[in-house]
Amino acid sequence: MTGPDYLSALLLLAGALFFLAGTLGLLRFPDVYTRLHALTKADNVGLGLIVLGLALQSGSWLVAGKLVLIWLLVLLAGASVAHLIARGARQRGIPEWRR
């Protein structure tokens, strides 16, 4: 393994950690708003780290560009859908969790 390999392994592991944490939050957090919070972290940062790690391994600018494009699309869709779900929940009067 060379330097870039170590770097992409690190990025992939960090991304996987974010997905693990996001999934845990989705399963364990108490209400829809906090769950969305956990989920968007996994989608945005976790996928970003994984895309970076894979782009380092791709060895071609074209493939790396496509991967980054996928990430940008997921950012756009993820953020909008999280907003829509939260908005729908508020419109239905689902209260925020309080300790």
């Binding site: 699309l73 756009l76 869709a77 909008s80 907003h83 829509l84 908005r87 419109q91």
Partner: protein
């Protein structure tokens, strides 16, 4: 490495069965639809593992995306009280269950009795691939070797559209305003979806992709726009829309007719036997084989896999 792959495949298979069971057994309709979409995505992954990327693309776009969106739209249109009600838990019915078990066992036996490496038509397809004008065998079969079959499906779709229009002349208005975020998302996303569909169509000539997948993406874009409450301008819904949906099949029929009239030998030979019957007729560059995936209405082609 091999162990890892086997483990992954095993998890995938178990996950598929579990999701299918949950989607069917779950009494809440909304939850059932979400499970169905998740099932479609895992199914696409399974097709990738089976090295069938064409089918995987179609499954992701049609099975998970388009069908999921249509199911959600249908759920939204259901009576609110009906949608809020959960389905009653049905008692276990032994008759259908027995039938299902028998059918499943028969399918399993059929799969087990298959020869490991079926020859199929792959050799013939490979031999004729050079004449087809494309280098992707799946596209060659769909749009070239059985081009009449595929492209005349447009007429079936046109008939379906006619039926839908005569049943439901006035599409429902959206109930709640979509909101600025959804509008903005669509403004950004729709051009990308159109571009992605064009890319899939173009890439289908030499790589996984093609008219069905492109049509599915376009169709999903249309469903998304409808869900957000976007409608065609009234001055576009009359004659221009009708012209747009008939121009593909019409153009195809026109070219086919001109082709048949120009070569009497080819007229009256059915699509299935055509390519084998007349060597002079095997011109892959002819417009009948090549032009129509683009000019046909791809959004409609999506509705049928």
């Amino acid at each position: 490495m091999n162990l890892l792959q086997t483990g992954f495949d095993g998890l995938l298979a178990l996950g598929l069965i579990w999701l299918a069971w949950r989607a069917l057994a779950c009494p809440d309709l909304f939850r059932g639809i979400v499970l169905f979409i998740a099932f479609g995505l895992l199914m696409a992954l399974a097709w990738v593992r089976l090295e069938a990327p064409d089918v995987a693309l179609a499954e992701a776009a049609i099975g998970a995306g388009l069908t999921g969106a249509l199911l959600l739209a249908a759920l939204a249109r259901l009576n609110r009280t009906a949608a809020a009600q959960t389905l009653p838990r049905e008692a276990w019915r032994s008759g259908p269950a027995l039938l299902l078990v028998l059918a499943g066992a028969g399918l399993g036996l059929a799969v087990l009795s298959l020869i490991p490496e079926p020859a199929g038509l792959q050799a013939q397809v490979a031999a004729e691939l050079g004449r087809s004008g494309v280098s992707n065998p799946v596209t060659a079969v769909l749009l070239n070797f059985r081009g009449y079959d595929t492209l005349l499906e447009l007429l079936v779709l046109l008939l379906a559209l006619l039926a839908a229009w005569s049943l439901d002349a006035d599409p429902p208005r959206r109930e709640a305003p979509a909101g600025a975020v959804l509008d903005m998302l669509l403004r950004l996303l729709l051009p990308v979806l159109v571009l992605a569909a064009a890319y899939l169509l173009w890439a289908g000539a030499h790589a996984p992709g093609g008219a069905f997948q492109a049509g599915a993406v376009l169709g999903a874009a249309g469903v998304l726009a409808l869900l957000a409450g976007w409608r065609l301008q009234p001055h576009l819904t009359g004659t221009p829309l009708r012209l747009a949906v008939t121009i593909g099949p019409g153009g195809f029929l026109l070219v086919a007719w001109a082709f048949a009239a120009g070569r009497p030998a080819a007229a009256g030979i059915s699509a299935g036997t055509r390519r084998r019957s007349d060597p002079a007729d095997r011109d892959p560059g002819h417009p009948v084989h090549r032009r129509h995936p683009g000019s046909a209405v791809p959004g409609l082609a999506a509705r049928r896999r």
